[in-house]
């Protein structure tokens, strides 16, 4: 089935053949994969998807992969969990957690984009993959490069959490720690990508890479029984995920796989210390003002988001909103999700939970409407954020009498 028309500029519509390029030569707009939806309609059905593997590759027809999947065969199809305890706590009727903190193999939604990008890198004959990353992408690129027997160069801000550095180094990439912010790392990588013939997953492979995020949206709809939720709250860093979840819903609608109007409102969640997209939404302006990040949510610390403009447009187009969260609220959000649902997410997930709470309390999200909260990364990667917050535990000698005394003390404390 011929499903791809190559690439197309999202701004001026100019067409390009399928190649590892990401920017329109004429207007600098982003290039996007152009699908032949006419050829896909009637071929991609609820039944054909259900017959696919229990991974993101059940949506392979809607991804820019022509041949065989090269790496990451088991990525995706993560749990969508009915979070009734959290809903009760927030006074809401219906909350779902889309839990990519357990995405195979590197514990974040980045495995979705990387498996597509690395598969394309192999298709185009590259022997080296690379990325600029705040951590999760670094983990995933290094892991999939190892699986694909490719060399990898991973560029990170030098002050990244130790957990994320370790969870990259274990796969033996070449890790380059840059003394600077993520935005500086990213700018450097744009220049390196222009000079070296490597597959930078989030630079020259960005049109393919970013398509992988759609599977997060496809899964939400399929797992809800081919229903679209009232609201989706999405953590925003570069701003790509929120636009691609919305694109996924639009594609399913185009293919006739969902009925009724597309009434989902898309909401952006960011940290107060790095919230340029939410600032655009709140100020209702399409001009992005870059910021210097200062937040514990390092995986969201992108002060100059590439898709900021489109993330803003997605929120506006769908009637959604956005909310900033302080570092204290982020930690409370992590603890709230852990306490109510038994899910340990990283700081970015704390941002999303905290933003959801604020959007509900502000009345932006009505309490009786269905909400999907996007949890995209694992808490075990960023324990640093909780050091000093969770030291209360009982220490005793190995004797029954010691335990009896400790238990009596606990009871008297809570009495």
């Amino acid at each position: 089935m011929e499903k791809l028309n190559g690439l197309r500029c999202r701004e001026c519509g100019r067409r390009y053949p399928g190649a590892p390029v990401h920017v329109c030569e004429f207007c600098f707009g982003p290039l996007e994969v152009d699908y032949r939806y006419d050829a896909l309609r009637g071929v991609v059905t609820r039944e054909s998807i259900a017959a696919g593997p229990p991974s993101m590759w059940r949506y392979k027809d809607l991804l820019p992969v022509d041949g065989d999947v090269a790496v990451g065969h088991h990525v995706g199809f993560t749990p969508l969990i009915r979070a009734q305890n959290l809903a009760d706590e927030l006074g809401c009727k219906e909350i779902w957690i889309k839990n990519d903190s357990v995405c195979h193999p590197s514990w974040s939604f980045k495995d979705r984009v990387v498996s597509v990008a690395v598969t394309k890198a192999r298709e185009f004959g590259f022997d080296t993959v690379a990325c600029a990353s705040t951590g999760n992408l670094a983990n995933s690129v290094a892991a999939h490069a190892a699986e694909g027997r490719l060399k990898s160069f991973i560029f990170i801000p030098a002050d990244l959490e130790q957990g994320k550095i370790l969870a990259t180094l274990v796969y033996s990439p070449t890790l380059v720690a840059v003394h600077g912010t993520y935005d500086e790392v990213n700018r450097l990588c744009s220049e390196i990508a222009d000079k070296y013939h490597w597959a930078f997953v989030n630079v020259n492979f960005r049109p393919y890479y970013s398509e992988g995020s759609k599977t997060y949206g496809f899964e939400i709809v399929e797992q809800l029984g081919w229903r679209t939720p009232g609201h989706i709250v999405v953590p925003c860093a570069g701003g790509s995920l929120i636009t691609k979840i919305w694109k996924a819903i639009k594609e399913l609608k185009t293919l006739g796989l969902i009925e009724g109007p597309m009434a989902t409102k898309m909401h952006a969640a960011q940290a107060l210390g790095c919230g340029p997209i939410v600032t655009m939404i709140k100020n209702d302006t399409d001009v992005l003002v870059p910021v210097r990040p200062n937040t514990i949510a390092k995986s969201l610390a992108i002060g100059n988001p590439a898709d900021g403009y489109y993330a803003y447009k997605t929120a506006k187009e769908t009637g959604g909103g956005g909310e900033h969260t302080t570092d204290e609220e982020i930690i409370e959000g992590m603890l709230l999700l852990a306490r109510t649902e038994g899910i340990f997410t990283e700081t970015a997930g704390g941002v999303t939970v905290a933003a959801t709470k604020k959007l509900v309390e502000a009345g932006v999200i009505p309490r009786h409407e269905s909400i999907v909260v996007c949890i995209t990364g694992n808490g075990l990667k960023t324990p640093d954020a909780l050091y000093g917050r969770l030291d209360a535990h009982v220490k005793i000698k190995p004797s029954l009498s010691a335990f009896d005394r400790a238990l009596a003390d606990l009871k008297s404390q809570t009495a």
């Binding site: 600029a132 990588c189 570069g238 870059p290």
Partner: protein, 92 residues
């Protein structure tokens, strides 16, 4: 004020394939004028009809985003290095 300007791939068809060029200007705005004199057509690729830098282009002076400086009014000195970089890249 000669400064070194790094040209991204999409603009090299205008700079005759050169990835780095020398140009002059007291400010970024003046630099764009000089670039357009040397390489006609470059200006309209960098700025829109109202004279503002295009949405999908970022300009850096000595590695600093000019939006953190004085944007197109940012002053330039001899030996400065200017990078023109497509804005669309990155993501965690």
């Amino acid at each position: 004020m000669p400064v070194l300007v790094r040209i991204p791939t999409p603009l090299r068809s205008i700079t005759k394939g050169q990835s780095e060029v020398q140009a002059k200007g007291d400010t970024v705005e003046g630099l764009v004028d000089d670039l357009d004199r040397q390489f006609p057509g470059l200006r309209e690729r960098l700025v829109d009809e109202s004279g503002e830098l295009r949405r999908f282009i970022n300009v850096y002076v000595n590695e600093e985003d000019i939006r953190f400086l004085q944007s197109k009014k940012t002053a330039l000195r001899d030996g400065d290095q200017v990078s023109i970089v497509p804005a669309i890249a990155g993501g965690r």
